[in-house]
Symmetry: C2
Subunit: 726 residues, 2 copies
């Protein structure tokens, strides 16, 4: 019975009416025809085929590459990429030295030869996708246990990916509607990425943490990269002989001034949303997940802030990590506040009661959807039984906690998985992942600070020691027990042993270990590797829980979402999963609270209004001087009487969309999306048309800064704009 269900539900998801929620939705490109009349009515001048034609595999979508966690667009025939400053931050940081502080001063390559390599960077070009639901669903056999089901699906996905990648492209299977559909995405991964131009941090990050998530905003959050390929035109590692990549399509800049109410659409790669999460899951997020995460983040912040007092060099090493933690805490606190104050769990519960009543009203519906929701709740409850352990386990082997333990886990798992045939290895540890894993082991050296990492591990092990029975982490228990001590003394002794007997802090040793087979690796008796091997058994226990849960959900969630779709008889978009999506909307302000209206545009004057001369409001003198001189060029907006800085639209985006091109009805670039607004920070769970907004930097502000502040004139000409400040 079960395999059929998936197919049935795909039907249910497709047979739907025109969208009822105007500007909500992160739509797959093949869904565009469903609401094309709405798009046209709003001002879209491109057809769905001009955005992406599945037959010819061409369209605007090929001009909007993924950067891995960020989005971007090509803006010249020579592989020039525009994205956010915060998306290019890695490239800027990696190339900065005390002598060349590109973070503070910005960077502008005087010629192509001087563009700076960013070896960790990837520009991943969209090459289309196809529906592989049938191929995936066919592996599910009647009577399969959930975990087996999950593993069978994983295996089939790997087979599809392996077959696809023979073409030289990178491929991945994306699961939609909780398993209702599966798509195989094809991507061209360009590995030679270079930094072309970044404004000073005081423009690209103006407002810093103070303004993060906040409107009104005045951040010039843009930077330029360039993708290079080998002389043969194929993806290649960095080489001075490489040549600029020639994209099939690139974006032109808008010629008409953008104004309030104008249509705007975005192509980008939203990372994760939870729009179909059931009430019980939201209750868990509200009552457990976010409170736990906020507490842990605050503890890690306290540790890092304290460690930073050891010296300026340590402070700098930890700065980037702390910045991430601050952002996460602000986000998570806003999220928790939003979930709590809007009582999303309660409202979902009420909606589910209505859905159940609708299902119960007809026997056919009961037969089709009836038990999905209670079974999902049961599966969730089973998974929650070890959620304290799983939460903590998730924080242990990652570089934000301890680079050394993270390295040990990567190396040990890699050599362990390599003993199996490629398709049977754990996802993330296949031959195709080797390059990425090695890069990670290399990258961690830059900010390595052992005393700080030790403090973090002491904290995590201390927490692990308080886990309830049934949720213990055996590896930690064993290691603590082996010290013959208790409490803090045991943790100290365990850490002494771990750090005394490991060679992982040394880059060469670490990279050499990555090449060793499992037996030889363990024979080295590296204490951190030995602990990683022990921890793997706990991780596998956690993977068992997850696979079981996923195996349950892959048949339940599509039925639940299918019921929702049939009940609402509206088209549904799948939750975000880093696949290319289109969101449409228009330029629109909002009222954050009674009596206040946030206008959809900020202006250049507002940059100066915020100026304090102190971080994060310390603009470059040449910016202040140009503003004071009233040098607006042709970038000024007549209605605003000033150069626009940032603008709001009601497009539906989330993390991963950063750097996305915001386009007008002609598909011309009007801005770069870079943030959401605090009042709708919980929009990953629920889109609120009155409050959810996308914050973008106006392309006119980008051009003004290029022209009047940084004199990036050659680059302006490359993107088809004649500079005025000559």
């Amino acid at each position: 019975m079960r395999p059929c269900l998936i197919i049935v539900l795909i039907g249910a998801l497709a047979a739907v009416a025109a969208p009822s929620f105007a500007d909500e939705g992160m739509w797959l490109l093949d869904q565009i025809p469903e609401f094309e009349p709405t798009l046209k009515a709003m001002g879209m001048q491109l057809s769905s085929r001009e955005i992406w034609d599945p037959k010819t595999n061409t369209g605007l979508a090929s001009a909007t590459p993924w950067l891995g966690g960020c989005s971007s667009s090509f803006v010249s025939p020579d592989g020039l990429v525009i994205t956010n400053h915060h998306c290019a931050f890695g490239a800027i940081q990696m190339n900065s030295t005390p002598e060349h502080d590109y973070i503070t001063d910005g960077f502008l390559a005087a010629s192509r030869k001087e563009e700076l390599p960013y070896k960790a960077g990837r520009v991943t070009v969209f090459k289309g996708y196809e529906d592989v639901t049938q191929a995936v669903a066919s592996v599910i056999k009647p009577g399969m246990e959930p975990e087996a089901r999950a593993k069978a699906i994983e295996l089939r996905e790997k087979e599809l990916v392996a077959a696809c990648e023979k073409s030289g492209l990178r491929c991945r299977v994306g699961e939609m509607f909780g398993g209702g559909k599966f798509y195989l995405f094809r991507q061209l991964e360009l590995r030679d990425v270079r930094l072309v131009y970044a404004p000073p941090r005081s423009i690209g990050e103006y407002g810093g943490e103070v303004d993060n998530w906040v409107w009104p905003r005045h951040t010039g959050d843009y930077s330029f990269l360039r993708a290079y390929v080998g002389p043969d035109g194929k993806p290649a590692d960095y080489s001075p002989d490489n040549v600029p990549f020639k994209p099939e399509r690139w974006l032109s800049l808008a010629k008409e001034p953008l104004k309030d109410g104008d249509f705007a659409f975005i192509l980008g790669y939203p990372g994760k949303t939870m729009r179909y999460r059931i009430a019980a899951a939201v209750a868990g997020d509200t009552g457990f997940y976010y409170p736990q995460r906020i507490e842990l983040l605050k503890d890690l912040i306290a540790i890092a802030e304290n460690e930073g007092k050891r010296g300026k060099d340590v402070e700098i090493k930890l700065a980037s990590q702390l910045k991430g933690f601050y952002n996460s805490v602000k986000n998570n606190e806003g999220m928790l506040e939003g979930l709590t104050s809007s009582d999303l769990a309660g409202r979902k519960r009420a909606e589910e009661a209505k859905l159940n009543a609708w299902i119960d009203a007809e026997p056919a519906r009961t037969a089709r959807f009836g038990n999905a929701l209670p079974e999902m709740e049961k599966a969730l409850a089973a998974k929650n039984a070890t959620r304290q352990r799983d939460f903590l386990l998730g924080w242990m082997p990652i570089s934000r906690s301890s680079s050394l333990l993270a390295a040990a886990v990567i190396i040990e798992r890699w050599s362990f998985e390599r003993t199996k045939p490629d398709l049977e290895r754990k996802a993330g540890y296949q031959a195709r992942d080797e390059r990425t894993l090695r890069q990670r082991l290399f990258n961690m050296q830059r900010n390595l600070d052992l005393p700080h990492e030790r403090k973090v591990l002491a904290y995590l092990f201390g927490r692990a020691a308080t886990l309830p029975v049934g949720q213990r982490i055996t590896a930690v228990d064993d290691a603590l027990g082996a010290t013959g001590k208790t409490g803090d003394e045991a943790v100290t002794a365990m850490l002494d042993k771990l750090y005394a007997g490991t060679g992982l802090a040394d880059e060469k040793t670490r990279l050499a270990m990555f090449e060793m087979d499992h037996k030889a690796l363990l024979a080295k008796d590296d204490t951190m590797i030995a602990f990683a091997a022990a921890l793997r058994r706990d991780t596998v226990a956690e993977e068992h829980v997850t696979d079981t849960y996923n195996g349950e959900m892959v048949t339940l969630a599509p039925r639940y979402i299918g019921a929702l779709a049939a009940w609402k008889s509206a088209p549904l978009y799948p939750d975000a999963n880093s696949s290319l999506r289109l969101t449409y909307g228009s330029v629109k302000g909002y009222s954050p609270r009674d009596g206040v209206y946030y206008k959809p545009f900020t202006t250049h004057h507002g940059v100066v209004e915020k100026e304090t001369g102190k971080e994060p409001f310390a603009s470059p003198q040449r910016l202040l001087a140009a503003e004071k001189a009233g040098a607006d060029g042709t970038y000024g907006d007549q209605k605003l009487g000033d150069v626009p800085a940032c603008f709001l639209t009601d497009n539906d985006i989330t993390g991963g969309n950063s750097g996305s091109p915001v386009m007008n009805g002609k598909g011309e670039l009007i801005g770069l999306a870079f943030d959401g607004n605090y009042e709708a920070i919980d929009s990953d769970f629920q889109f609120n048309p009155a409050l959810s907004r996308t914050i973008s930097v106006d392309i006119r502000y980008v051009l003004w800064c290029m022209d009047y502040v940084d004199k990036a004139h050659a680059l302006m000409r490359e993107i088809g704009v004649e500079p005025q400040n000559k």
Copy 2:
């Protein structure tokens, strides 16, 4: 020469064109004809004579009494007065007891008999005014020293007042344009004032200190008083036999809904503005006065907060004073920030340079205005020579510092001045002031807390000990010297002596002393009285400085302001001085910063939006329930889709205007002014059309609260509105 100047300048002030600054100005009622066409064009339907007819001495102005520090209006033929909750706070507090906490719970008299007496209250009805410039100016003789000039003017003013008060009215001379004009104001002072209705503090003070000076605002800042007279219709002290006062005019409530852009005018009694202050004076305010005051206020706050820790009863006693201090600090810090960030002193200096250039351009102008500004600067510099002493001296004998020392100063000065003929006594110590002074000595008992007062005096005496040579306070120096000790020990010894030998803390003793003649008083050897007598000599020295300065300015300021008027050829309004003024404008939002627009209306929904359940956002349950039930009655606004709460206009007001009626073009009540906005907190110095706003509570919110929250139905009928929540 000089007396003539004043007359010349009156000419200059009158011969002016139509107003150039649309909505700026606190206009005297006799000025209205000057801009009547503008008023009409904006929507005023009343003629200047309907507002006040100087010939018949009638008009709307008789419906807007002064409350002494606040404004108000009659809203029924039975002497019912509406004003702000914070203006009626004294009446509410005086009548509150632990058993009847009208502050928290509000108060509504079930019948007229149950209206509560407020003996310190005054309802002062406008009875017209006349120009007495000639009579005052004629006392100035050629060659007079400045101090003699000031004293001659003071004497003439007293004579005019004494003659005027023979009618049974209260009279006062108001100096306009720094002495360019003098007006004699007549007022009917009603002394039997009763509290009729006050909403709970959680409505009347909703938002408290957090929202003070802030938009968007949601405060139901209204209360009702009633003025009573003797059975003969004449002003009388409280008596149960008294009858409601019958005003000549009272206001009707607006029948049309108020909307954005609507014309609005205000009649009220603004207290003090400094719009004509010269650059040098503003520089002194920015560099000395506000910083000193903020520092001192913060020190007093620290003392009071610390003393409050002694116990709940002390905390309550000091609560009202602390509230005042918090408000002052917030105001003064905003003021200083505004003066500094707008560089008002610098801009005034630049304007003065232009004015001087204009004066210098023509010999006739040079002859007429030439030396005013430099002479004003010289007079100011002379006055500033003792400003540290004078500042501190101003804080010593007031009840906010020490009730006991304040009482001693009043009693000693009163008995000292009584030795002279009435007209020669210091202003404020004439026979006409006896009742007020006695009332002050009576009022202080309620919140008397000797340990706290002693701490404040220790602080002030400690500061006095650090004053520079030439600015010493002799009374303090002598008293400290007499202890034979130094430093803190001297202050302690001095205070020990002061407090051990005074009987002023006892109400009966205090009031009895007030009746004693000077010789007998001094013979009692009360230590605090003896110190007050010594301090009087320092005060007289300060009065000499002030009189000299005033005597200089009374001839200089009119010349300077006259030059300004001639240069700008625009009508000028005099600085506020608690005389009745009209300000006109319209309902209007504003942009506090780039990207943000403050709408001109808040709504009832916004009250609930701010609700936290904790002070100062803890609405009464019955308000929340009524809002939740959507019970808007006829008070809802169609366009807003809700009951309006507060609104903004660009009327020009300041402290003293609180409680003022805001009226539509028909002269109907649309709201009560109660605050200004933080972005224009320095509007006492400069009105900014883009930012300066009046915050008023909408009369529809008042009615909604009366109807749906407090069921003040009889009162509603009295003001001509039929309740709906029956």
